[in-house]
Symmetry: C2
């Protein structure tokens, strides 16, 4: 660590920054992404709204910072779920990570909406949304890839390509390959992304209440589908 001792000024500034973020998160939890307002934050901290511009260039910049923090929080939670079961099979640990993702999301619907919801221009930082375009998202993905890497190191992937020839897959997953390199066989990348969309579908619909018309409890469906996703990756 080469962090020079923070000056008194820098310390106070850092404190104020976290106070601002905390107030913003309280508003987020209380009223959803749209409830985050600079004036309300300023009221909370006993300041005026323009003062906040000394710390964040705009409301969007503040929201983006919060999203980054949230991704780090989620990543740590998921990573903990993996290490908590460090003695189990890697694919079993992937299952635990998926459960941790669901649990975290259900406990934080507003935060989930901000991170994974519809990127509404004006409230959600548009371009660098979710996907590992931003570093926080990339580290989140990395958490899964690490454990998956352990599995395929022990049990080389046995085949079962998804009807798509490797050259096509390579072109298809060019963005992934540019960011993460070709650590895995191409079908494995396919299976991971497919599982991720499936996981997202279940969790997002559950968090957003889009399944209440059909079922009282999504967990059994989640568990059954999770088992199928994992066994599909095991082949």
């Amino acid at each position: 660590m080469t962090t020079t001792t923070p000056s008194r000024r820098e310390r106070l500034r850092a404190e104020t920054v976290t106070e601002i973020k905390d107030a913003a998160r309280r508003l987020l939890v209380a009223g959803g992404p749209a409830a985050i307002s600079l004036r309300a934050i300023a009221r909370d901290l006993g300041m005026t709204a323009p003062a906040l511009y000394r710390y964040f260039a705009s409301l969007d910049a503040l929201v983006l910072a919060i999203v980054t923090d949230l991704f780090e929080d989620l990543r740590a939670t998921v990573a903990d779920a993996a290490t908590d079961h460090g003695d189990e099979e890697p694919l079993v640990r992937v299952g635990h990570m998926a459960r941790a993702f669901r649990r975290w999301s259900l406990d934080r619907p507003a935060e989930f909406a901000l991170m994974f919801g519809s990127p509404v221009p004006g409230i959600t930082p548009f371009a660098e949304q979710c996907g590992p375009f931003n570093d926080a998202g990339a580290r989140f993905g990395e958490t899964f890839f690490t454990v998956l890497g352990e599995h395929y190191a022990r049990h080389p992937f046995g085949g079962a390509a998804p009807d798509l020839p490797d050259p096509a897959l390579r072109e298809l997953f060019a963005p992934y390959l540019d960011t993460f390199g070709d650590r895995f066989p191409l079908p494995v990348i396919y299976l991971f992304v497919a599982a991720w969309t499936r996981l997202y579908g279940i969790v997002a619909m559950e968090v957003f209440g889009h399944l209440r018309w059909a079922m009282t409890d999504v967990e059994p469906l989640f568990e059954v589908e999770l088992a199928r996703m994992v066994s599909r990756m095991a082949r």
Copy 2:
């Protein structure tokens, strides 16, 4: 039809209502759900904002009306996809319906966000969101159930329950059963909901741009997964 001839007043009123909705949809397409504003609509129509309250009780009420219209539009599009292939196997037609759903959604990202995105209090009509709680959503679901009914009438469902006993499924899917009755074997309901979450996951992530970090084109993945979903329902 017992629609009495609409008076001149009623006709003008209906015209204004559609003009308001059209202006709102233009704003929606141009700037996303948050861009729908009564004052902007009023400017568009050469009126003042309070005048709109003669037609809609609030902004939320207007948005809800638009969501209802959109569900009807989507339902019609999906139903057309089924009838366009009326001579094919029912399950093949379900595939066409899924494709129509994806196509419609990709062509209308803002509308999709309004209907299926995170229900942000303040902009999205909260409770009666998506799920067939509202009638429009119910009719949308009905479209799928009709075609599925054709299939299972010809090919009775052969088994492959999802590891969940029927009594548990019956309790789990109580909301569905209350609305749609028990037309199908319980495992079929499970498979349908599971497929719906999977379809939603892929389409929502594609529409929201949450897959751009991984792949350039989602269609191949969509087709492969769709084929698997359908074949799972065929057993």
